[in-house]
Amino acid sequence: MFLSRPRSTADTRLAWLFAAPALGVITTIAAFPVVWTFWESLHLHDLRMPWLARPFVGAANYREAISDPRAWSALAHTIAFTGGTVTLELGVGLVLALALSRTRPGIGVLRTAALLPWAIPTVVAALVWRFIFESPGGFANALLSKAGLMEAAPAWFSDPYAAWVPIVLADVWRTTPFMALLLLAGLQSIDPSLYEAAALDGAGQLRQTIDITLPLLRPAMLAAVVFRSLDAFRVFDVVYVMTGGGPGTATEPLSLFAFRVLFRDLRFGYGAALSVLVFVVSFSLALLWLRLTRLNEEE
């Protein structure tokens, strides 16, 4: 919601002044890399073969990316991963945030403990979850056999679809605290008198949550979801440590594919094109979300 004063030049000057430090830093540090990446993507640049020089090839790298089935699989994996993890994280995070907000404010230890998974280095978290799912000695199979479901248990990391389960679980475990924390902070801005009024009107807990909490939480929720989505889109560490993209390439996300192209195949031109494509897709997703937010704002 914006203030209802008309736009003024003083406001505009002030806004640019406020934004100057942040914009200054970002421009200084990011301008060159971004421009460089765009420029590289238009050249054939293979570090292994300097005798090919670095000719300008226009959109050739992009054409190759679009016709590369491995790039498309990677994109599909990334989109599926993003959708799955962000949905789960939003759900569990919301429940956790609501529960935490209603506990006695003094249980700081609980809130700190809730954040611990996020504090563990990604590499270690991935290793731990790999231990859990690594058959045959892992916890997962131990639990399943206790529950008598051992026959249904796949060889987790050898199955192209089952391998996603540990990966998604590890990521959800790690980043649900992120969502919960943001939502918890967002919940603090909601005026408790609204709840009191609703309670007086006879609304129960669930009704209050649906009618008051969720709508008022929407800006914070959307901010968290958009940022987490962009983050999940760039997933790398978790998959790298757990499966290396395997079995075969069944769990390879875009970032891992681009990493291989850039630093294993040393194809900087093609790698830059892939990175630009990641950027374009992310940006489109973000714009889509922003459009949805704007629609909600105008209500």
Binding site: M49, P50, A155, S158, T243
Partner: protein, 427 residues
């Protein structure tokens, strides 16, 4: 305006602080004596050893000083760092420790120095090691130490190591049936370079090669299909290899054998001293090593690993850097390395009767025999991409997503396309 001043002042203060931090942080001390930097393994005993050897070199070459630039041992991390530095034409580090499969890539990229003008004597090194340092018939690095894939076997489960895959399968099945061990054989089956080295050994056991003598892709030959089918059958049909190996790298394999869970293990020499440690290993004193078995029509092979030392092409002190490389690869230093860390020297002459027997955990004659069967991975600048293609299809076949023959044919086709696209054939 009353409001802008505090904001303006605050902004100026912020920018000044930032600038001061930037300037302060970027001040470095001036240089005095000439300094050489060597980048390599600097963990634990290797670090101490390197320090000792470097100190001796410094004493013999005043006023030169040598610094060690530690880099992560994880292959991808170190490779990525080298790429950044060399792409930026950094003159540090002057000496680089390279994985055996990087030399052709770095040589073609113009990042490491052609050592032809120093006329290093390569005849004393193992032929396989000497082959792996050459690109376009010129030497670009010197072998530092070699690694070979070996078969570790349990002396309490059998009298003699198997010579053929059939024998191995038989012994493994009997050991599992008798309940002594849950697994027959364990090897590195995760989707990474280690899988290619294991495959290489099965491949040579069946008489196949990745690239034939003319440098053409030969990984879809009948021998290769036989080798891959054998690997898959060991997991699926014979069940002597657990499917868990498909996510295992060296350490998990080692621990399975170390915890007495397997009758056989295929691993590198680094595992030997760890398995001998009675405090931690359950198989101390109950195992030995042998060459990998062979199949029909093939010979036992050992994938060649190890490291080499190269000189940075942008180094400002190439002669001194080469002197260091030559020093570290001298027989005396290699022997010391074997004693301190247990790594196999790359010089064949050291394996005759001599002090090496006391230094190495295994009999030098046995080691030399295995190393003489070393199989070199294709020496080409595009090896990394080649290997990735192979890894993907190998892993798909082993995880039953593909069949061996079509899978290897796809891999071979992709490799041929790669060679065509880059207009490169193996040297």
């Amino acid at each position: 305006m009353a409001l802008r001043e505090p904001v303006l002042r605050a902004s100026i203060a912020c920018v000044s602080i930032l600038a001061a931090v930037v300037l302060a942080g970027s001040c470095r001390g001036g240089s005095g004596a000439p300094v050489l930097t060597i980048s390599g393994s600097a963990v634990g005993r290797e670090a101490d050893l390197l320090q000792r050897q470097i100190a001796r070199f410094e004493a013999a070459h005043p006023p030169l000083r040598i610094e060690i630039q530690p880099t992560p041992d994880a292959s991808d991390d170190r490779h990525q760092l080298y790429v950044q530095w060399l792409n930026a034409h950094a003159d540090d580090p002057d000496v680089l420790q390279l994985d055996v499969v990087w030399t052709a890539e770095f040589a073609a990229a113009g990042w490491i120095l052609d050592l032809e003008r120093f006329a290093p004597a390569l005849s004393d090194f193992f032929p396989a090691a000497a082959e792996s340092v050459r690109w376009n018939s010129r030497p670009y690095a010197l072998p530092w130490f070699v690694d070979v894939g070996m078969l570790y076997w349990r002396t309490d489960l059998m009298a003699e190591p198997p010579r053929t895959f059939t024998e191995l399968a038989g012994i493994a099945a009997r050991s599992i049936a008798s309940g002594r061990v849950p697994y027959g054989l364990v090897w590195q089956g995760a989707r990474y370079e280690g899988l290619v080295t294991v495959f290489l050994e099965y491949l040579s056991g069946f008489g196949g090669r990745i690239l034939d003598e003319r440098g053409a892709v030969a990984v879809d030959s009948d021998a290769a299909v036989g080798a891959l089918t054998m690997m898959r059958d060991q997991i699926v049909a014979q069940k002597i290899v657990p499917s868990a190996v498909l996510t295992w790298q060296e350490e998990q394999v080692r621990f399975a054998f170390q915890n007495a869970q397997a009758a056989f293990m295929r691993n590198w020499p680094y595992a030997y001293p760890l398995l001998e440690d009675a405090a931690r290993s359950r198989v101390a004193g109950r195992f030995a090593v042998a060459a990998m078995p062979a199949g029909e029509g093939g010979a036992s092979g050992a994938a060649l690993g190890g490291s080499q030392l190269a000189v940075n092409a942008y180094s400002d002190r190439p002669d001194a850097a080469y002197a260091l490389v030559a020093y570290l690869t001298e027989p005396a230093q290699m022997l010391e390395r074997a004693e301190a860390v247990g790594q196999f020297p790359a010089r064949e002459s050291l394996y005759g009767k001599g002090p090496l027997a006391a230094a190495l955990a295994i009999d030098p004659a046995a080691a030399r025999e295995i190393i003489s069967r070393a199989v070199v991975r294709p020496v080409t600048p595009v090896y990394a991409e080649l290997s990735e293609i192979l890894q993907i299809h190998l892993h798909r076949v082993l995880t039953r997503q593909e069949e061996p023959r079509p899978g290897l044919r796809e891999a071979a086709d992709a490799m041929r396309r790669l060679f065509n696209r880059t207009r490169l054939a193996a040297s």
